[in-house]
Symmetry: D2
Subunit: 279 residues, 4 copies
């Protein structure tokens, strides 16, 4: 439905991440190779962490490929933690409040996929959102409701557990409404320090998701590649589809799992939705 | 907060209604005389009935005064029932799904005013909306929730009663949340045949609303005015503020009342919010 | 570069032309089969003749496939002469003033293709435009300059001759600036009565262009097709690519030729650029 | 017609310049006190110098007062040289390519005012632009042509002289076309190091322009004002109208003069258009 990119590492110019790659996210906005739709032209969003407490978010309803402001900002902004998302709407309106990433305090969230039969389950899902968080919902996407469910379930304390609970609730609700496969998702979220990336779908056939190989390993394999000497050891990309053809650079995130990118060792762990319990 | 215009009568070019008046709605978008805000530049909308079952709706986030598409359409479209609205946002995002008029089947709805403390009462109001209507809510304005409350209470069967119940519910909910004056409103709604226009506010100090004098009376007063000979006897305008200075042409809708414009005699009646009853 | 459609015939709902076809123009905006680019998402335009002297023009910078206003208008507007265009920018900014069709008085003009090395020849081409027409140029496309060259050369009196002179001038200017193949074009223009459609390129490899078969012939071949009984005998479509798969319905416009659709017999004639003569 | 602000000094958050003032530029976009128009809602632009060779430019066609992306960027970007502009169109289309500031290499340029009878003189002015610069003109404003005239006359070598020649040429051209008062202007331009600000009009009644008092002087006058201790000694603002009411803070730029803000002493000098000489 969409394509996204999450970067964590030494500060780089956003242009390096979004434009200067053979199969960059901007190229994918016109010609995605692995996406459910080839064209992702229904708006885009950029989230980045700078000197402020809160990350910046730039969102637009125009296709990314010809957006001059995105191009300008990409040439000026450097950041060590960047989220970028290009959208292919599955029906909800093309408007800035429906563009990812979504933000809550220092947290960002973006999603590729969909909640099945969303129009039918939307009310039940929205009712489950913490009433204090409810007024924050500004758009009409499944993703934003999903984000607020995760926040309701404690995203800020234990992200994997909160997402497992949110997905469990979405699945239980969907099934009650007759959906065979209630959710399809790759999700990235961050608090500005760590990045969590999830790959899961009720049908067990999730959208593609890749993470970049450890920089030290890549440097040993490609000692002459200058880019690999510019970035820090801990730099890591998670992407809907590989940005280039460098051998050994990209690894598929397995079905029903999630990765954590953080200071120190990263981790790859199984993801299991948590069934809702009675109150 | 906003300015609007409702026209019912013999078919006229939309341009006549929106542009060719001394204090036209387009002039009001830059310099409203009577509005709570002088500038109404946060998008606009046009609803009109043509040959189809369903009215057309054209909405844009650009200020009306310089919008070339609005100008073009106004020069091409003729209609006997037109709603037009220019918006001054009270906080909700400037996006097409927040522009009036809103539509449900053959019905249109537009509003000037606000629901007080909307962020605090939004959840309770939305929960009251018929779950079958709930998925139709596409934007994030108080007006759209208000419209769906009225639909829930039977707008399509008995518009005045439905609006009285919706306002009664909004007032009860607002008071529960500590609002002294829960609602401020002028509202117009239509099924394509009749137009209902309401003026009410909890504080008893409602936004301005005017209706045009009966055409036959005006013709007798101004026998040489050519415009008055072009329109049918039953033509009528309801507006947030007068479009011109013709003596005797404009009458204020009284506080806490509503008018009905319909084939046959029009009517002006008192408006009394209906307190919610226990189910 | 772009895709376009011109319709002349009995009045039809624009929706029929733009949406209700297997390979409609809206489908082509996302997935063109024959275009130089698959995606035509850099704005669109609609021109139509109604009751007024001047045709209406609706233009937007958003992709056509998700534009709600285009959808709304298409459901309300009927017309017997419609131009529609979806754009894939070849570099000039995505803005309404760069969207086709362009208008001059009662005339409309749209184009698929490009003027080679436009940045280098733009000044010379623009200088050739009649100084009285020059201030009318509002955008920055090659197409708009081309249109004004044709107007300068008498488009309103003898369209084929004016286009031949404009193309001749563009070719002579391009060659002086070192362009091997100065122009690539399919062009449609109309005065609201007749439609002229041109297919030509300096390289002799022009973009695709098709016209629909005479309705009477099609009816005889497909006696059970209901659509063919709804449209008048003289209805005709000219399109960048066929809108459907009806056998016998579509004919390619030959290289270096133009067609005239008009009351009475249509015609298909050779197109030969006219070399500029010394003043 | 428009309002603008130029800042040069120690790096500050753009939000401080655009939002956190009693009569900030954002406030002026809705309610200008001194402007020819009260509302400046026809787009805006922001230019800033960061770590790159070339300044960034962010431009939008939406009114500044509700633009969320401008708000976001203002909270993230710090810069020691900022240009900001809000537009009230005098007729040319509302599109990004018509928003100020305009850029050429490291140079920025913005303007409040107009070239009189621009439609009539546009061709002659444009022809005078260096043919190598001509293709860079992307919009349709008088300002952009004026900028390219100044570039043609050597803006990058001697800005005051180049602007004097450009204005002289515009005045001579305008008079030839029957304009009594060919130009009205306040202009700011910068190479990223110095800022030049001009105030001039053919009629001798120029739009308002103010510069801020030397910071050391202000600190002595207002020893307890914390803002004055945060900015460097050399910080300076030039604005269409004062941003606040601090006594002694704002000085009017005299008629027919220009100021230079640069490392070392600033200067205020007379401005005299240079009559064109025969080639």
């Amino acid at each position: 439905m969409c394509r996204w990119l999450a970067y964590s590492g030494s500060p780089v110019l956003v242009e390096e991440l979004l434009y200067n790659r053979k199969n960059s996210l901007i190229v994918q906005s016109l010609h995605s190779r692995l996406g459910a739709e080839e064209t992702n032209g229904d708006g885009f969003g950029l989230g980045w962490y700078g000197d402020q407490d809160t990350p910046g978010v730039f969102r637009s309803i125009e296709p990314a490929w010809n957006d001059r402001n995105l191009r300008e900002l990409s040439r000026q902004l450097s950041s060590g933690l960047v989220f970028a998302h290009i959208r292919a709407s599955t029906g909800s309106p093309v408007q800035q409040t429906n563009c990812h990433p979504f933000r809550h305090g220092r947290w960002l969230w973006m999603h590729n996929g969909f909640v099945d039969k969303f129009n039918q389950v939307k009310r039940d899902l929205t009712l489950e959102v913490d009433p204090l968080l409810y007024p924050e919902i500004e758009g009409t996407t499944d993703t934003e409701v999903f984000f607020h469910l995760a926040l309701t379930y404690g995203l800020e304390e234990d992200p994997p557990r909160a997402v497992e609970r949110a997905v469990g609730f979405i699945e239980a609700t969907g099934k009650r409404h007759g959906s065979a496969h209630p959710i399809q998702m790759t999700v990235a979220t961050t608090d500005g320090e760590s990045v969590w990336a999830f790959r899961y779908s009720s049908a067990g056939k999730s959208r593609s998701l890749f993470y970049s190989t450890d920089v030290k390993t890549l440097r040993a394999q490609h000692p002459d590649n200058p880019v690999l000497h510019q970035v820090s050891d801990e730099s890591r990309l998670v992407v809907s589809e590989p940005l280039g053809d460098l051998a050994g650079a990209w690894n598929e995130v397995p079905e029903s799992s999630y990765g954590v990118i953080r200071p120190g060792d990263d981790a790859l762990l199984p993801f299991t939705p948590a069934e809702p319990t009675l109150a």
